[in-house]
């Protein structure tokens, strides 16, 4: 009667359970490696950079000598860049998202724009640099100014904002729209007064994440001509500029080994700013996400 031999089953079973346990440990370790790397990076940069990070570093220009180099021009330059990038991408990105979600018919053209955006998101940032170099710097002859850099970064992060805004507009419940139409509102009135206010937290979160990507971008700015050493601050969007990642890159490439510490200090400043931006995004998401 004993078709099933309990001993063989339990013998095999213990092996399979052991395998499962070993695999779990392996998968866990693989997950932890990323964390360890992050920890090593943070530890290394903090121990190297904190020594050089003082008021002189924050308020000084870059210099030939490591003791006197500062990141002021980089921080101000990055802020100027964002003053161009943020409005341009937010307006165009949100408008694109509204069109695709609320107005466009589900046809070939809409799908074409969607696929196009998907592919744009996969284009390497340095290719956007080539685009900015040709279109802005040479064809429109803007020269190597904040405007050219900011617009290039804006085009680069456009797909990020569009996707975030689309998702957030899509998540506005249809009942709200129908109620608004029921009260006699037109389409644009509904979009402007009902859909957009309901979608704004998601749009802002996406926008901030896109900006934090733009602030950390280096390669396209190298192409559109951010200066590595600059000793006057830009006073408008038509002035030459530098940016935080560009300064860090130039310090990394500097021949004197002491610049390693300067670069670390610069990285701390950059990461702190990114951390602030991301905390704002998380804060907005948590504060407004329960409303609907």
């Amino acid at each position: 009667m004993a078709l099933i031999n309990k001993d063989t089953v339990s013998n095999k079973m213990s092996g399979r359970i052991l395998k499962n346990k070993i695999a779990k440990v392996i998968f866990f370790i693989a997950t932890i490696i990323g964390l360890l790397f992050l920890g090593a990076l943070a530890y290394r940069i903090l121990t190297q950079g904190l020594g050089s990070l003082d008021m002189d570093f924050l308020t000084g220009f870059t210099s030939q000598s490591p003791d006197r180099a500062g990141i002021k021009a980089g921080v101000i330059g990055s802020l100027w860049l964002m003053s161009v990038t943020a409005p341009v991408t937010l307006i165009i990105g949100v408008a694109t998202a509204i069109y695709l979600e609320e107005y466009a018919k589900r046809g070939r053209f809409t799908r074409f724009i969607q696929i196009n955006l998907q592919n744009l998101a996969g284009v390497p940032s340095i290719v956007f640099g080539l685009l900015g170099l040709t279109i802005f710097v040479y064809i429109f002859k803007t020269g190597e100014i904040v405007l050219a850099g900011g617009l290039t970064l804006g085009l680069l992060v456009l797909p990020v904002i569009v996707v975030a805004a689309q998702e957030s507009i899509r998540s506005v419940p249809n009942e709200l729209r129908e109620a608004s139409y029921g009260m006699g509102a037109t389409k644009w009135q509904t979009v402007r007064r009902i859909v957009l206010p309901a979608a704004i937290p998601g749009i802002l979160t996406g926008g901030i994440l896109a900006l934090s990507r733009a602030i950390g971008e280096t390669a396209p700015l190298l192409l559109v001509g951010a200066a590595t050493a600059i000793f006057t601050l830009p006073s408008g969007i038509f002035d030459p500029y530098t940016a935080m990642p560009i300064q860090i890159y130039s310090w990394t490439k500097a021949p004197q080994p002491e610049f390693e510490y300067v670069a670390s200090a610069g990285i701390i400043v950059l990461l702190v700013i990114l951390l602030l931006l991301n905390s704002i995004a998380v804060f907005i998401r948590n504060k407004f996400s329960k409303r609907l």
């Binding site: 866990f28 196009n116 644009w188």
Partner: protein, 314 residues
């Protein structure tokens, strides 16, 4: 009530109707105008693509009027300052970085995804996932700095004869940078597999590992492979890490301990150097950029094709 309000406005009924008509016509005007404005903005993303194609192609054509196409694609010598343009050495450098990065990113990414999606409790996942996402948000210039000043010195202790700038260190760090991307895309694909399948497998007596390997992964395979294709595309286009840590010596070799140069690295080298507008070297960055663009585009399209064509529907 209404009539008293009308008197307060000081308007008769006919005047009110007139006023309403006016505001209606302006509303109608806005209603017609807004979709057109929005469409214009939506079209801009298409214009960006056209702009990219136009700049790349037109400058590349100028380049090929000065340098032979055959030499460009078959020669293995790349020294623009001595007029030898053979992109194969840049491509081999890019491949070296990509392969190293994938050796790191694919196992780590898939293993992390399996752990987060199949093994971890909700609490653990909520703790680990944001940390992995932080890795994805770190600027690449920071990774480059870390590769050069931390990973390379560490590797030097293990591998004697490692050159200061080398493909190995840059490739490893590119791989680590891509892990979160592979992990989150793979996890999404695995999360889309219905729980019914897992429960079925477990009811038949399969362990969690067997369920994962024999049921969940095959069901999510198209999404997982698509994430590999996207990861390869990211590694090919990665710029700052290789520009900082991999060196600037283009050579046709597959030795990861040596200094090499990638396509992206060359573009950075030229753009930060003293090259005048209109010289052959200036045009060469567009030819290299076009090649780079084609490579990444193929990988992106492949990813989209795989995830559309081979998706298992449940």
């Amino acid at each position: 009530m209404d009539s008293s309000k009308n008197k307060q406005d000081g308007l008769s009924v006919s005047e009110r109707i007139e006023k309403n008509k006016q505001s209606n016509s302006s509303t109608a005007f806005v209603e017609k105008l807004v979709p057109k404005l929005l469409l214009m903005c939506a079209t801009l993303s298409v214009l960006v693509t056209i702009g990219i194609l136009y700049t790349l192609l037109s400058e590349t054509f100028t380049f090929f009027s000065e340098v032979s196409v055959i030499e460009f694609f078959t020669s293995t010598h790349w020294n623009p300052w001595r007029d030898s343009y053979g992109i194969l050495s840049l491509i081999s450098g890019t491949l070296l970085i990509t392969v190293t990065a994938m050796i790191i990113a694919i196992p780590l990414g898939v293993a992390s995804a399996i752990f987060l999606s199949e093994y971890a409790s909700d609490k653990v996942r909520r703790f680990l996932k944001p940390i992995l996402e932080v890795l994805a948000g770190i600027p690449t210039v920071v990774y480059g700095f870390f590769a050069l000043t931390f990973v390379t010195p560490m590797l030097e202790k293990i591998i004697p004869g490692l050159s200061f700038f080398n493909a190995l260190s840059a490739g490893i760090v590119v791989g680590i940078m891509i892990v979160p991307m592979v992990a989150s895309l793979t996890e999404d694909a695995m999360g889309a597999v219905p729980n019914v399948l897992r429960e079925g497998a477990m009811a038949l007596g399969a362990t969690r590992l067997e369920t994962t390997i024999k049921v969940v992964i095959p069901a999510a395979l198209s999404g997982i492979i698509a994430s590999f294709a996207l990861a390869i595309s990211r590694a090919i286009g990665e710029t700052m890490i290789v520009a900082i840590a991999a060196g600037a010596t283009p050579k046709f070799s597959f030795d990861p301990t040596q200094s090499i140069q990638t396509m992206t690295g060359y573009i950075v080298q030229v753009s930060t150097g003293d090259v005048s507008y209109g010289s052959t070297i200036y045009y060469s960055i567009y030819a290299v950029g076009t090649t780079l663009f084609v490579f990444t585009l193929i990988m992106n399209l492949l990813a989209q094709y795989i995830s559309r064509r081979f998706r298992e529907e449940y």
